[in-house]
Amino acid sequence: MDSGQLFNLTTIAYFAAMVLFFAFIATKNNTVALTATLSSLAGFVIQTVALGMRWYESYQILGVDGRAPLTNLYESVVFFAWSILLIYLLMDWKYKQRTIGAFVLPIALFSMLWAQMSLHSSIDPLVPALQSNWLTYHVITCFLGYAGFAFAFGVSIMYLMKIGKEEKHQGDAPMKGILGLFPPTRVLDDMNYKAIMIGFPLLTLGIVTGAAWAYYAWGTYWSWDPKETWSLIVWFLYAAFLHARFTRGWVGRRAAWLSIIGFAATVFCYLGVNLVLSGLHSYGSG
């Protein structure tokens, strides 16, 4: 069995988990919810093994030039999915709010599908500029940060779906229907904040390690190349989000929107820059 097959299994597990999470929302059956969580956990474990195996395979193919599987678009998309699951499972462990899976798993599933179906998955040797340990630190920190933002995005969507109904809802009786199953908006808002609180320092570290790497490779820690600039734009947006919480009127709806805009900018920073704009980070488009 090779890593490619394991990644396919991972994709199937995430697909099953997503379907089960939808089924949970439809049936409100807790066993279904537990199965969904277990399925995502299984997918995560398989993917972890697959990442290790791909790392090992790189040594078999490239000999001493083997490297961590974090060097091209395919590998980064796969790692993104892994990071999302890591953050999701940690949050699930802490908050035990199963409905969130239905809004976070699709992002991971979509990443895996895209990577497995249309990205170039061969293990190629690295051009000299990429042969640096900073690359590994840079990619890990950035993507864990992105995963935090992806989680915040999913939770924000749930918040916006629920808040309107909750405000109209009268009395103390719990809300009925699908939205009643969602966590209270207060909790959703808090989770949004927590996820960004995790993502923000990681993104900061990602930008710093990227700067350090650029300094050793090209002699400048910052050159306003589109990728760098967009990562800074994302950083600014979430910095605004974190500070907005201290002012009245910026929690709730506006915070949810800011989180959604932040994630859109994150996705653009990650993919849009490579696919639309050009710059030093052209490696990622391969």
């Binding site: 000299p128 900061t204 710093v208 700067a211 002699g219 306003w224 605004a240 500070h243």
Partner: protein, 460 residues
Amino acid sequence: MAETKKTFIDSTWDFLCSLKLAIILVLLLALTSIIGTIILQNGSAADYIREYGQSNYELFKKLQFIDMYHSSWFIGILGLFSVNLICCSIKNFPRVWRFVKQPTLVASSGVFKGSANRAEFSCKETKHQAAEQISELLKKEFAKPVLTEKDDKLYLFAQKGIYSRFGAYITHLSILIIMAGAVIGNVWGYKAFVNIAEGTSTNQVRPRNGTQPIDLGFTVRCDDFDVSYYENSNRPKDYNSDLVILEDGKEIVHKRIEVNDPLTYKGIKFYQSSYGSAGNPFFKVKITENKTGKVIERKAHQGKHIQLPGGYAFAVTNFTTSDRNFGPAMQLHVNTPDGEHGAPFIVWQNHPQMDVKRGGVFSFALLGHDQPYYTGLQVAKDPGVNIVWAGCFLIVFGSLTAFFFSHKRIWVCLEDNGKKTKVLLAGNAHRNQPGFSLAFDDLQQQIEDATKNTSQKKEG
């Protein structure tokens, strides 16, 4: 009361300190930064005119979009942002400093009534015994408390993580430090490049923006350049240059630099950045005069005629690193003494005996070939870079402290109440209240257990 009218200075100060201004500026920076990722930066006039037309180019020039990250308006926003950071820190820092200098050792009744986390119970011990037990427990489970006696009551105060109150200030300060480092690098540093052909040296580099060459104050020589490729591909695997730094003709530093591993001398860094061929390749050719068996070796540049004994001459006219499956091969011809070109023939490096069979006056063997290269170096002097790294360390450290730690405080008040002692508990965390609530409940339980246990089974 007559409302005192705010002076202009006061309202300006408040505006500069405000969080609102910070949020607006940060969003404005995010928004305007997009421009430079869409419009080409630092291109030539022709690039812009071709892409956007003459009138738009004039507009871009007026709006400083050509180099927007160094434009006066962008620097202006950054400047205002720094002022905002400084003002807001000056305004709020004293309040945080008070937590350190004047901790609330004796909590008011308001604290015990109004805290989100509070408890009240009685125990049989005297207040001094209870204070001792609770102190022990707090020291073990939380932090060492301070005991104060006031108005016949005993007060305990314990706190943890006060440094986390400074996380935000450290983060803000670090942004200023990074900006200061960047300014220092921009003013007193430079970015330049230089191409050095193998075996040659230079003491000047060309700045990236500007034409006046910069004197290094010493000499850099490139002794050798090497590029290696991945097997069966033309993807470069590594390229590196042997550099030597010379001062007054003396060799001071030797280093083989490669991508991601630069050479530093006197604050100037030399980065391996590119390479290219410097002139035609040359070949080491072994020539055997077939009649006498005499062997000579010659270095031949492509296209140049080389004299041979007896008035003959030869020239290498073509070369490839791999001729089908036979490896490196050169094409050459021999001129007769009267200058007539002979028919061209091929010699393979890996098959040195082949040419003997051709049966000419001379037989040739290719011993090796060499492509002279120049090494392309980025040269950077950045006296601010360590300041930037210090700022980067602080920003990571500061943001982690600010987000993941909180200042937790616990107050206890012990008061005689007939035969019993009344115990009041209150706790407060400046961040992550839900998490602290759980910890507080746990601590409260332990305190109650501790005081009750000892009252029941003494020295148990």
